[in-house]
Amino acid sequence: MTDVTKATAAELGRMIASGEVSAEEVTRAHLDRIAQVDDRVHAFLHVDTDGAITAARKVDEARARGEELGPLAGVPIAIKDVIATKGVPTTAASKILEGWRPPYNATIMERINAAGMVMLGKTNMDEFAMGSSTEYSAYGVTRNPWDLDRIPGGSGGGSAAAVAAYEAPLAIGTDTGGSIRQPGAVTGTVGSKPTYGGTSRYGLIAFSSSLDTPGPVSRNVLDAALLHQVIGGHDPRDSTSIPAPVPAVVEAARLGATGDLTGVRIGLVREFSGEGAEPGVAAAVRDAIEALVKLGAEVVEVSCPHFEYALPAYYLIAPSEASSNLARFDGVRYGLRVGDDGQRSLEEVMSLTREAGFGPEVTRRIMLGTYALSSGYYEAYYGQAQKVRTLITRDFNAAFEQVDVLVSPTTPFVAFPFGSRTSDPYQMYLADLYTIPTNLYGGPAISVPAGVSEGLPVGLQIMAPTMADDRMYRVAAALETAIPPLTPPALTGSNS
């Protein structure tokens, strides 16, 4: 039998539905792979072996009863630890939630379960999704399967690494400023951020409510679209969920796979061209764009003059919302409590708990956000950042009058070595230079492998108008036909 861990999710779904392989066999193969490699990769914070096998058996039993299986029934999936999973530890990679088992499921988990998908476990991330390297996890770093001495991106480094290392064919990430796409780029995987409101946030532990978007992580575009179809769509429990059907993403991915982009207009953002990207990244992206032209696409340069203010605006809006969202971690209802010695007041215990439970990056952002919302500073910081957000949205709207999609590098640099950007927080923030504008606008964007630089993966970001997620899948799938798949070398690098 072929190694099912190398198969695509679409293939696995088909094989399980046809009975060629059982869901339990597929699940066990992936659990075995995790057992083999995860001590080196450390993509997982928790592996739910029993739950996975139980879920897989249910699919096999349903098939035995003659029930029709969905396209991803029995297909394993890894879940970023920021998604609430009923009865299964959910920590957001923070000490403050150590041991917490939610009494409820996120909406996307209910949909994943209803589709018959098999959750393998919870993946590592930067604490509360704040970071671009997964170095800010309270539970140790995740290593990039391409080079174990380098970061897997962040915040969703665990989900990207799990998929890149064949520990799971699919994973869920969440993207607030690039946390699905940037890890996708640096691990040679596909990371898709749907339109904000296109996938439910109910059960996603909030970092920045107006930006957070759950989405698929996969090794190919069709698989991402299939997962998007499962998790997407209106959720009455999320007020910001768009009451509309999921765009036809699977059909778009299939259409793109024909390799024909005739009539598709692709925009290059002028303001991105001079800035930031390493030469090797810029070169790989140029080649990818040429490939798109060969497939029939037309390339147009567009101007988005306010994009240069996206990063500053983001680092005011996201920390402001986070400072409020993370207030609830106070040691009263769940999670850590420190210093309750019978003498100290609740106020002291709360402060000690939060100081002990939050890592330095989270603390930094809470303080930054508290500052930006303070009376006297609100207008200059938070208020002004929201106006910049309006201008960035206008830039996108103007650009999408000229072109169907925008493309750019996903991130300015390839996977960097551990520790190289942690001493200067702002240097870390630059990793999200190209991904952040889309979050502020709310539209969808996807990172697809575009080539390699210095032996490390480079991603191309494709951005589309809000609720036109199908467009980016079409272009991404077309690019896939022109770029040879990126396969990580056998896991190399230091091992501990």
Partner: protein, 99 residues
């Protein structure tokens, strides 16, 4: 000139209920200063007549019907509590507002 003083950082820590120690105060003050100088660039944009965006997708009036749905049991509600007593969440003494 520094964008933020050490005292302001200490004030923020109190507002945010973070028991930051003296050494950390210095570190955070330095880091926040760098970040604030960088993000203050939003002020360069002339945006006086620009409306702010709080929600990227323009939805309004998303409302729920007034119909009871099952919630959690007391046991589930208290399942994550660091300390519980008599079906309630126990907390240390609260500084009182009345003198």
């Amino acid at each position: 000139m520094a964008a933020i003083s050490r005292e302001e950082v200490a004030h923020l820590a109190r507002l945010a209920r973070l028991a930051v120690n003296e050494t950390e105060l210095d570190t955070f003050a330095g880091q926040l200063d760098v970040i604030l100088q960088a993000v203050a660039r939003v002020g360069e944009v002339a945006a006086a007549d620009i409306p702010p965006t709080s929600h990227s997708i323009p939805l309004t009036n998303i409302l729920r019907d007034d119909v009871v749905q099952p919630g959690l049991t007391q046991q589930e509600a208290l399942s994550g509590a660091p300390d519980a007593q008599d079906g309630r969440f126990r907390v240390p003494r609260i500084l009182d507002e009345e003198a």
